[in-house]
């Protein structure tokens, strides 16, 4: 059983045929947030990171994001692809450019900056 099951929000945007378009259309259209959280086992830190992330996504990108959790203990080879060395690491795969935030995401402000949601202030 794959433990890295994608956790989708209730309203993942599916109607965008080409993810690239969403970028170009950024000012007009809600972007798709594709996030991946790398952890190594369900440690207190990983659980905290996931909870922080979930809360933050609901607040700031409601309905337009998907989170995939990758447990490197189960799928070690995936660490190479995204150049993971620290855990937890959050990777913003979309919108590009790729961004990485490491740590338990406890400082919401820094996470927002890291995700380019600050100081731009977001789209809401």
């Amino acid at each position: 059983m794959a433990t890295s099951k994608p956790i989708r929000s209730r309203k993942t945007v599916k109607d965008d045929p080409q993810p690239g378009n969403s970028l170009k259309a950024r000012p007009f259209k809600r972007p798709v947030w594709e996030l991946r959280l790398y952890v190594a086992g369900m440690t207190p830190t990983s659980i905290r990171a996931f909870e922080n992330l979930k809360r933050l996504c609901e607040e700031h990108m409601h309905g337009a994001y998907k989170i995939q959790v990758v447990d490197l203990l189960e799928r070690p080879m995936l660490a190479r692809g995204d150049q993971i060395i620290a855990v937890p690491t959050l990777v913003r795969r979309l919108p590009t450019p790729v961004k990485k935030i490491i740590g338990d995401l406890s400082n919401t402000e820094r996470v927002l900056v890291g995700l380019d949601l600050r100081p731009a202030g977001g789209w809401r």
């Binding site: 070690p76 660490a79 990485k100 935030i101 490491i102 740590g103 400082n107 900056v113």
Partner: protein, 486 residues
């Protein structure tokens, strides 16, 4: 006899002790295992530090590659500075086929890239991701050797030094538990051995590489700074990076322990042999020929090398003044056909400009050539030109090491030395005559209008009765002929 008693005692205690003594893993790098008395500490981590471009990565990679090829010990490289592709290219220039080793599962390379700009840090984390990658790579090839190059880039990539330090400590413990022998490379610090103080964590074996430029000529050197639980050579050893990788020259002043041979070999000039107690030089001795310009030093050297080849022995001729073809032509004119010995593989002429490399590199080249060609006779013609690249003291130090090495190998060596003007005795340029067993002085005397007379004087020849009179000699197309008393 006390000496024997000690030996016996040593023998009986050694089996019990040997299990306690630090086990070592041979690196397979030429010369390095001699300097470290056996290689790196098994199951531990060795630190290789040095400035940029000193060959740290290469040394580490060669440790892996040679381990895989020679000792059947697969290796893992965690590369943080260069991509796998760059490493493959670099090693290809040294004749190593990394992709093949990777296909054969003898090597795994994982390029770890950290871009600080892309990374935001918030809250707690650890480096388990790196551990997982390392573990994965080790499992993949069942590695016995690991290279972390350059692990201290973690400090550059991550902001939280405290976490990095704690994790590195954990990493080194983990490597020890995993039983792999690891090499860690690090950049030289200003006041400390490494910029981020890695030597605090890795304290078992520390090597320092160095790349110095002196009067526009560079020399690479290696030194074992620390080797816990083991004896090691403490000098700075020159090393070379050539098309076969790294070679450390493990020669130093070995001391006077070589055994002296009583065997005699011909100088190649029968009349000179006659002066040398009628038999010639001692095998393994060193012979110095000094003389002003054009007195025939090279002719004696060529005769000496030719005689060795005629006995079926190998001779190695280092020429620092003339190209091989020039030597062959000139020596042909004095009746010395060297070409046939080259064709039969008995003679090798290695010609370089002294200024092409530093003294230490010359020493290293001489050492490597000797190791490879295995001659019984070596000619260095002339040593004077080496003074052009080093000061007298350095030249003497180099020659001392070279002569010790040659004597240990029972190689008979002839050095020629150009002196200027008439003060032959005083100007034995480098003052190296004390290192020599036999010293021949060539000169010429003006005989009025028409003639110049060549003279030969056997100034010293240790351990044999010899003719000390001044002789005259003739150089003709029949060779060298020494006549009776002047």
């Amino acid at each position: 006899m006390p000496a024997r008693a000690v030996q016996k005692k040593k023998k009986t205690t050694s089996p019990g002790l040997s299990s306690l003594v630090l086990e070592k893993v041979p690196t397979g790098i030429r010369g390095l295992d001699q300097v470290t008395h056996g290689g790196f500490p098994k199951g531990r981590t060795a630190l290789v530090c040095g400035g940029p471009g000193t060959g740290k990565t290469l040394l580490g990679l060669e440790f892996l590659v040679r381990g895989a090829l020679l000792y059947n010990e697969p290796g893992v490289c965690i590369a943080m500075e260069e991509t796998a592709q760059e490493l493959v290219t670099n090693m290809a220039s040294l004749g190593y086929d990394l992709p093949q080793l990777i296909r054969q599962k003898k090597l795994a390379i994982d390029y770890v890239h950290i871009e600080r700009k892309q990374i935001e840090e918030t809250g707690e984390y650890d480096l388990e991701g790196l551990f997982i990658r390392l573990r994965g790579a080790i499992d993949q090839v069942k590695a016995k050797r690991v290279l972390l190059d350059t692990i201290e880039l973690l400090f550059l990539g991550l902001k939280n030094d405290g976490i990095v330090r704690a994790e590195l400590r954990r990493l080194f413990h983990w490597l020890k538990d995993a039983g792999v022998t690891a090499v860690v490379t690090a950049e030289m610090g200003e006041r400390t051995l490494t910029r981020y103080g890695l030597e605090e964590y890795v304290a078992d074996c520390v090597l320092v590489l160095d790349h110095r430029v002196n009067e526009q000529i560079s020399t690479r050197r290696l030194r074992v700074v620390k080797y816990r639980g083991s004896s090691h050579g403490t000098n700075e050893y020159p090393f070379l990076l050539d098309d076969q990788g790294i070679s450390v020259v493990p020669i130093t002043s070995l001391g006077l322990t070589h055994t002296a041979s009583t065997e005699r070999i011909s100088s190649g000039v029968p009349t000179l042999d006659a002066m040398l107690g009628k038999k010639g030089f001692f095998r393994g001795s060193s012979v110095l020929i000094t003389g002003t310009a054009g007195t025939g030093k090279s002719s004696f050297a060529a005769a000496f090398a030719g005689a060795a080849c005629a006995r079926g022995e190998r001779a190695l001729y280092f020429a620092y003044e003339e190209s091989p073809s020039q030597i062959l032509r000139n020596m042909g004119s004095v009746g010395q056909d060297l070409e046939k010995w080259i064709n039969r593989g008995l003679l090798r002429i290695h010609a370089t400009r002294p200024t092409a490399a530093g003294l230490e590199s010359h020493l290293a080249t001489v050492y490597n050539e000797i190791q490879e060609f295995k001659p019984t006779v070596v000619v260095i013609d002339p040593i004077t030109n080496l003074v052009a690249v080093g000061d007298l003291y350095a030249v003497k130090a180099m020659l001392t090491r070279l002569i010790d090495f040659l004597k240990l190998k029972h190689i008979t060596a002839m050095f020629t030395n150009l002196v200027f003007g008439s003060g032959i005795m005083e100007e034995t340029a480098v003052g190296i005559s004390s290192l020599m067993d036999t010293w021949i002085v060539l000169g010429d005397v003006d005989q009025g209008e028409a003639e110049r007379m060549r003279t030969l004087n056997l100034l010293k020849s240790r351990g044999m009765s010899h003719d000390t009179r001044m002789h005259r000699f003739i150089l003709s197309n029949k060779g060298i002929e020494i006549h009776g008393n002047k």
